[in-house]
Symmetry: C2
Subunit: 319 residues, 2 copies
């Protein structure tokens, strides 16, 4: 017997097959199956949090990537953004596109990868869309909540704060980390509850995210380059630091800690003994437009923005 | 000078260029630019409504489609689903993928098309993602609200109700309607406020949507085939009725009216004098699994499901 493909199954058959893989939660009033999903909104005093992200074959994973890991990454990328705000993800929609000859089993395994991660963080998958396309891709949309006025923001760095990063950076592709990473939801929540105000997730590379923080907060950042924590795969390479600064897809958190919070690091290590947490710089003076420098000398050296720019990188790939 | 492309502009430059095109609203706490968007959630007593839909070059529009109309369709498809629930769309996210050599102006015009429609219905565009890809596509996510317990549902058809459709059906591609349609937001809201309980939007073809209603409500539907309102382009063709039943992308509403609501049609025509509204059948007895029939004879003739199935159609296109 021919293995079932998406074309032989039809869109309707595919959805019927995927429905058992959709995680749910008690505040879902109407899940997948009608024109829209209906859920009970966040409580008064909470902000509604919205975010979407794609994963596209050839850009975010390769044709031979294990389907479960594709699903994990598709949801994980969005959850990493929720982590960076200290927010709680609650409901997800999945737009799934694939060539018609894709085995139905591949689609199921992708959804299993999504489901396993969704269950771990209490996210219900409440709908989405399936379409034929030349390229396999997923676009994941998540809605959730955060106490109003408490979200960690890119714009909240204050002069005198210290800069910290979680985890070890660089060579996420070689190590497979970009497919396996655990979104830092628990860390983000803990930071928010402790009163931390400023964070961003490292998706485009540390250098790029430092620039985002500097620009959005309107401050100068001083990077302590030798302090940047290198992943083992990265450490073994020439230009290890450049990789750690610009490779992207680390999905760690970069955040700031006020100068008087001297118990921060021991408390963090007590709460998350398995997660490295490293001071990598300080926030300097207010400066319209922002700036990131490293090293000594008069004002230091301007840090190249570098990082993973989706359109430029694609062009390089075509050259 | 070379015209600017997405690659020469970079993702960041593109976003800076698109930001002025993003509609907003007063309940947006934090728009595009941070890890997630933050908005004030629906009030107590309202359900949060969630929906996503893609438009993909070669499937939902052609390479030479005018960019503004691509944008209009991308948001319009999702708004049509909100209309079918009588819901109010409030906040949208746009995932935009395009080849790096796409002119920056094309991207801008697509966003202008989105923006014009978003403004008309009070939808804020609060973020999204831009990525290079081989194919131009947009995935639009919208969140909004509807009074809890009042959403129009596919599952709410009752024996004895009449079936109605708005507008004229068939040949949406030939007429360009699939790029120009006005989502029936105002009609959906009016139906909800009048106490109508059951609706679905016609995206995959009337036949397919009748089957969805029948199955989700667990009823038999009797279609009055000669009553199906044909668009002028459709009317002129052989097999006009087959086209009106199965072509898809009409983005009209199919809904049910209780038998005692004898003022319904005059009231509708008074409220929406420009919009055709046609009775096309009745809801028969409860029947597990549902059924749609037409014509006379013992139980009538089973209506083929037909309709626009994304995976099957794609396969036919490859044959």
């Amino acid at each position: 017997m021919e293995p079932e493909t998406l074309a032989s199954l039809t869109e309707r058959g595919l959805i019927a097959r995927l429905r058992p893989h959709l995680a749910t939660r008690p505040d879902v009033l109407l899940g997948a199956g009608d024109d829209c999903a209906l859920v009970r909104p966040p409580a008064p005093g909470e902000a509604l949090v919205l975010k979407s992200d794609p994963v596209i074959c050839g850009r975010h994973f390769l044709p031979d990537t294990e389907p479960r890991r594709i699903g994990h990454k598709a949801l994980g990328r969005v959850l990493s953004d929720f982590a960076a705000m200290g927010a709680e993800p609650r409901w997800g929609l999945i737009d799934f596109s694939a060539p018609p000859d894709t085995p139905a089993e591949t689609a199921e395994q992708i959804y299993e990868g999504i489901h396993a991660l969704a269950e771990r963080y209490g996210v219900a998958i409440t709908g989405g869309d399936t379409t034929a396309a030349d390229t396999l891709s997923l676009h994941v949309f998540v809605a959730g909540a955060v106490p109003e006025g408490k979200a960690l923001l890119r714009s909240a760095a204050e002069p005198g704060d210290s800069l910290y990063v979680t985890g070890l950076l660089g060579r996420s592709y070689e190590s497979g980390h970009h497919l396996d990473f655990e979104p830092r939801i628990a860390v983000g929540r803990w930071l928010r509850e402790r009163g931390i105000r400023c964070a961003i997730d490292i998706s485009d590379g540390l250098a790029s995210e430092l620039w985002h923080l500097a620009e959005e907060s309107g401050v100068r950042l001083f990077l302590i380059a030798p302090a940047v924590p290198l992943s083992p795969v990265c450490e073994a390479m020439p230009d290890a630091l450049a990789h750690a600064l610009t490779d992207g897809e680390d999905f760690e958190l970069l955040f700031t800690v006020p100068p008087d919070d001297i118990r921060f690091l021991p408390d963090f290590l007590h709460a998350f003994p398995e997660i490295p947490c490293t001071p990598v710089g300080i926030v300097g003076e207010r400066l319209a437009g922002g700036r990131v420098t490293y090293g000594s000398g008069d004002g230091g050296t301007l840090l190249p923005r570098g990082g993973f720019d989706h359109f430029v990188t694609a062009l390089a790939g075509h050259a």
